[in-house]
Symmetry: C2
Subunit: 341 residues, 2 copies
Amino acid sequence: MAVVVDLEEERERKAPSLDALAALVADDMARVNEAIVARMHSPVPLIPQLAGHIVAAGGKRLRPMLTLAAARLCGHAGQRHIPLAACVEFIHTATLLHDDVVDESALRRGLASANAVWGNKASVLVGDFLFSRAFELMVEDGSIRILAILSHASSVIAEGEVLQLATANDTTTGEDAYLDVVRAKTAALFAAASRIGAVIGERPKAEEEALESYGLNLGIAFQLIDDVLDYSARQEKLGKAIGNDFQEGKITLPVILAFRRGDDDEREFWRRTLERLEQAADGSDLRRALDLLERHRCLADAVRRARHYGEIAKDALGIFADSPLKAALLGCVDFSIERAY
Amino acid sequence: MAVVVDLEEERERKAPSLDALAALVADDMARVNEAIVARMHSPVPLIPQLAGHIVAAGGKRLRPMLTLAAARLCGHAGQRHIPLAACVEFIHTATLLHDDVVDESALRRGLASANAVWGNKASVLVGDFLFSRAFELMVEDGSIRILAILSHASSVIAEGEVLQLATANDTTTGEDAYLDVVRAKTAALFAAASRIGAVIGERPKAEEEALESYGLNLGIAFQLIDDVLDYSARQEKLGKAIGNDFQEGKITLPVILAFRRGDDDEREFWRRTLERLEQAADGSDLRRALDLLERHRCLADAVRRARHYGEIAKDALGIFADSPLKAALLGCVDFSIERAY
């Protein structure tokens, strides 16, 4: 038994993690958190209450971390990246608030979602507030280029969300259409968060584009793995909820592959469960879904697809000189993918 | 009978209207409408469909009209005011979409509301899209000052909406607290829409501030009268729906006055109908509300309050030389108030 435990520990030690990146930007991130708290303040108490709830729920702060790391990688010695990283997190938080309303989610990262506690109305409006506040932060920074990058990303995110709504519960959605949604709703903000680091660092366009490509492809890989995790046996063993996407009839890459690789009987199964949302209350449909995903190697192949985008992200950083920061950004790609196991 | 009709016609002829202002900016407004259609385009068809529905429902386009008129009043000879007026209308439309979700409205300007046709989800997301697109338009214009004015106004609007939510169905809301909501949720955008006209015209700060004051006070007067119209016997005679605010338990100036001027029995009536929303299905409670508003002269006094703000708005324009445009802006104030009759 002792050997098994050691092997498991060995595995954990070697598993890619965000620790290196988080450590390198820890001081900056502490100041980003201060800026977030300071700038979500409002004389209307409900705003810091509700916004504080979702910001405190935390998560990895991956997007602002990208802005911090990219700015440092590009040699920025000042402080502009702090409020701009907060601004990226505000945009992300605003979209989370609106997403939870749209998805009618009761939970967010294991806690009651803001809409479950304060209602949809407050979530819509506080989301609007955070979004406006993000633009105020950008205006204070004063760079029209950064305003252009982030306002465009915001439009693209909203377009992606609407597109996702239009393709929801539609099993005819293909892999390319799905990737369009992922690029827009998730990867666009990763890309913008990374790119503005180069703008802050006043680096040449090639470096801006390299960081944008890094963020975009990292974001795609990240979302693909998120979608895999929702069907992951290992997640279930770790006590995490799985099957949310299935329950909502979300069309993600694993089921897109299963639908295409299945026979008529299986396709009818997917249509019944994901389009008509007729699902057995005893969980037997989720079991069958997991079985089909396994049989057709859909999860493994979705991870392979994610790895493809991860490789592009890593190659994009090739023009930067080696440094601990660059290594940590490369490690972030590995973490985003290998967390699937 | 003929005499009565003539008097009525006479009255209509003399009644203040928006016609003069609309005529002076008609060419510009046609181009604003083109810009609106062009810039709400998206490869995701639901976006122009839904946005087109609410934009086509039209309304008076008062806010972009203010930007156009203010820019011309300030001598702007170029075209910058066209996309910026479209941007103001986008911000307004985004807030309407989110308002209708928050208020669960089924109707908007007599037509089915967007949320009633396409659902709350699409309304939230298309609102986000229009809001982002508004910022993209500002970024294209390139003025950090205008970005600062409109991003701040957007934050204030969202704060005002949250504040309104917090005070909803609360009969202890006082006149000052109510005015804070009105200033934020309505007047801030009127103020910003007017002020940016002076920024576009590159006029001195005093003129910026004069136009901001004009817009702010016009906006307050406009909202106060909107609230009066919801209880107006004349509106009812014209076949327009009244009593929506009553039904939703909205605390507006007329009922704030009635609550303070009433006796214990009347206050209990307002608490029952507006706080607990226990209202007779036969409309008898609305009748009693109208009766109480009449008995305590609440509507007449709310109009008097509106007139006070209207006077401030008109005086603010005193520093501008007389011109047909200035006269039309003054007429806009009169229209906003006298439409109560």
